[in-house]
Symmetry: C2
Subunit: 220 residues, 2 copies
């Protein structure tokens, strides 16, 4: 599949692109600047020598993509989707955004966003796209260590069951990862908030944490 | 230790009391009605024949307790704590409350509560108690199957590190369970919201789910 990463030059986008390239997919790193997109693609090729990786501006990146991952900070979501809305018509869009801010002495603080969750806000801006959410809880650092399995569940939310299945299958291609259907769009809030909890656990325990759901077939 | 369960006649309170009685602690089941508290204690003794279990009204139940668990629905929290506030002065209080409601066609929906989390609201009402939160994510059904190990992490939040350590050690006494310090009081919101996510996963996958944090010493 051809996978685009909008805002893919950040650590999370790059890490996910590296894992997907490693799984054999064609990846395109998008950025507001064409040059930075190309630099991102170079980093993917450095990490995954066999990668089919290109870079460009966000609009170029999404043009022929089968799946578009949104991997920018929440603060940029509304403006970026305004620009890309028509280019994303009919596309399968996977939102990786977790709305949070950092507060001194507290750490990561999940934001209560007006639309309920970053997913629901993205879906409202992209009425003709098939929008789901996933991968918010994965450590960018661990994603970039492409030979290291990551034991975690990726919780996929959204109202389009077929679109969720595509993302679950992509998640399952990362070693150690299990994709799970975590329900409708309104459930995304819980998954997005988990990111803040895990960031704070990472800091407290000086490690990289992830989450596993116990009790579902194939779980521990 | 002597452990009291305020509102302990509900399935979560009873389940937790059974596990704690099974671990050798003295438990007291509190209810608004003395008789229902005593009925709860009878259920604990039926499940755990060796249990030291008594019942009574909530005020009696907390009187000599070392730790007081709050195991009622969020809708009753403010009123119950108003009544018990002075009786809880100086006590270690563990809030098990997860604010949520059920909506047709959606399932469990976590509430955004004015104080940030049920823990922070309880702490504000009990300024002289040592208030932490934990155990919100455990299945009442699984808790009541006392011979069945439960593989999960219990995430303990609050500002009193010693109080959290007491609760972590109690959690560790349930077979399969690992207690973790999940940070300050403001982190409780994430843990409380997880309850709704897990309830909805249970319904979707027709199972009992729980959560495990991967990547911390002793984790998988």
């Amino acid at each position: 599949m051809k996978l685009a990463f909008v805002g893919g030059t950040g650590p999370e986008g790059l890490g996910l692109a590296m894992r997907m390239a490693f799984a054999g997919h064609e990846v395109v790193i998008g950025s507001r600047s064409k040059e930075r997109g190309e630099e991102g693609a170079t980093k993917v090729r450095e990490a995954v020598p066999a990668a089919s990786a290109a870079g460009g501006d966000n609009a170029e990146a999404v043009r022929d993509a089968d799946v578009v991952f949104l991997t920018f900070p929440y603060s940029g979501q509304q403006a970026t989707l305004e620009v890309l809305a028509s280019a994303l018509d009919g596309k399968l869009v996977c939102n990786v955004v977790a709305p949070l801010e950092f507060k001194q002495g507290v750490g990561a603080v999940a934001l209560n966003v007006p639309g309920g969750s970053a997913l629901q806000e993205a879906a409202a801006q992209l009425p003709n796209a098939r929008v789901v959410s996933a991968f918010q809880n994965m450590s960018a650092e661990e994603l970039q260590e492409i030979h290291h399995p990551i034991l975690c569940d990726v919780l996929v939310c959204g109202r389009d069951a077929e679109a969720k299945q595509v993302i679950i299958e992509l998640a399952n291609q990362i070693q150690g990862v299990r994709g799970l259907d975590a329900g409708g769009a309104s459930q995304s809030r819980y998954v997005e908030m988990l990111t803040s909890m895990l960031i704070n656990l990472n800091r407290k325990y000086k490690t990289q944490t992830s989450i596993r759901i116990v009790g579902i077939d194939g779980g521990q």
